[in-house]
Symmetry: C2
Subunit: 285 residues, 2 copies
């Protein structure tokens, strides 16, 4: 392997340690502890793991967390009522509604009901719009982790061609909008399942961000020598958890690469903590 | 000239005629006429012309319009008060705050104060976020005009590489977000002043959308033979109003091209009428 490893584990530890210090300071100045309320509807095992990991990370950094568990047959109105209660609760600073929600629930309505100041996932349309307008309140956790990783590894983006593979609301669209802003100043291309001759485009990328949810989708032939490759994929396969990038061969071509696991995933949880602390600050003023 | 002309004048006439019919029908069903309130602060001559043209277009299609003129020294608070009054006024369906505003006014605060349902320019962050999320309430007028032009000329976007030159909040960023959505399905690249080797990117465009505000910026060498070239620029020069595209030489290379004047500009006003009618409908339900 010739690429430099972008070590998410190390970065997550470093950032969480900084957050711990800031939480102590926040507590001293405000006589209240930042608090994340997690809402979990139904019994999806993966969702339960995610929520547990998020709450553990809170605990490690001194952030309070609450778990609100609702049965799988919860209606949109019932969930709206809980969200309204959490919106009003002065002890709650961040609200996380774990996705996916059961089919009978109107997901867009729920996400729009979360108070924009408590919307630590940055899924509310107002917060999405503010990102596009270059005046973000919160950044969605995974894209936030990606830009933080680039920043701490001193990978500059101005003038670089960033190619994003995948156009999800959670990763592809927000990271594209973030990196085309003034300051980030990247030239940004968004590709997806309908893109023609994808390799001819990914090979132009100085920075290739892959979030398409297909194991080993990006092969070495699709990567420009020396490129930065950020793999956002988390795919469960028979041989364990793998990313969207064919790590072995690609790491012989790329200049920088994130491993999976141990890459972006750990930063997602970490940036949720950073957003919760930011929300606690926003709600004090 | 070998390119087919994308005739904005003809399209604007056609769409405005459809809107006229829909306004009559709306009036019959609702006993109220769609109404646009235009807010003009100060005495900028260009702004006065724009507002006058918008009001004339309203009149032609049977839409009511109001003009609220405020002095150049108006404060943010005074303008917020007017916006709040218009938000509450049941006779007003669309609110247009003509930009640019005088320097002492906090533009972002004003645009965020317009009720999202009356935000016919689609500048409110909530409406911007909804575009990104693929569930738009209103589309900003110029990008709306561009997609309407492509649609009516049967220029398909799925799988096409769209290159947008310029990243303004009014044109570049929203049109990029619109065309990368499911349904539109274009591969989208956003370029700007910091882009390196711009011609190598614009030459890849199946559809090239230029909104950078520099006269004759796009030359023939920057265009792929047969491409669709959409010129959003309106630049005042000694030889009259010209676009961002060097029309003569580019029209010998492109497959389709918009003239300036007579192209996208006329559709911008037209889509403001369409949005006002849509707002009137939204406010009835």
């Amino acid at each position: 392997m010739t690429a430099v490893l972008l070590n998410g584990k190390e970065l997550a530890r470093e950032i969480q340690s900084e957050i711990s210090d800031e939480v102590v300071e926040f507590l001293q100045n405000n006589a209240t502890t930042p608090c994340l309320a997690a809402v979990l509807v139904g019994e999806d095992p993966a969702s339960e793991v995610y929520v547990r990991n998020k709450r553990k990370a809170c605990e490690r950094t001194g952030i309070d967390s609450q778990l609100h568990k609702l049965p799988a047959e919860t209606t949109t109105d019932e969930l709206l009522k809980l969200v309204a209660k959490l919106n009003k609760d002065a002890d709650v600073h961040g609200i996380l509604v774990q996705l996916p929600l059961p089919k009978q629930i109107d997901e867009a309505r729920i996400l729009t009901a979360v108070h924009p100041l408590k919307d630590v996932d940055a899924f509310h349309p107002e917060n999405v719009g503010r990102i596009v307008q270059g005046r973000p309140r919160y950044l969605p956790c995974t894209p936030h982790g990606v830009v933080e990783m680039l920043r701490r590894y001193k990978i500059e983006t101005p003038g670089k061609h960033v190619v994003v593979v995948g156009r999800s609301d959670i990763v592809g669209k927000p990271i594209a909008n973030m990196l085309m802003q003034r300051g980030a100043d990247a030239t940004v291309t968004v590709c997806h399942s309908r893109t023609r001759d994808l390799p001819s485009i990914t090979r132009q990328a100085d920075i290739l961000i892959v979030a398409i949810g297909k194991a080993h989708f990006v092969t070495a032939e699709m990567v420009k020598p020396g490129a930065v490759v950020v793999d956002v994929g988390i795919n469960r396969t028979e041989s364990g958890i793998v990313g969207d990038v064919d790590f072995g061969p690609v790491s012989e071509v790329a200049g920088w690469i994130t491993p999976v696991p141990g890459g972006v995933g750990l930063l997602t949880v970490t940036m949720l903590l950073a957003n919760t602390l930011a929300a606690a600050r926003n709600l004090q003023t």
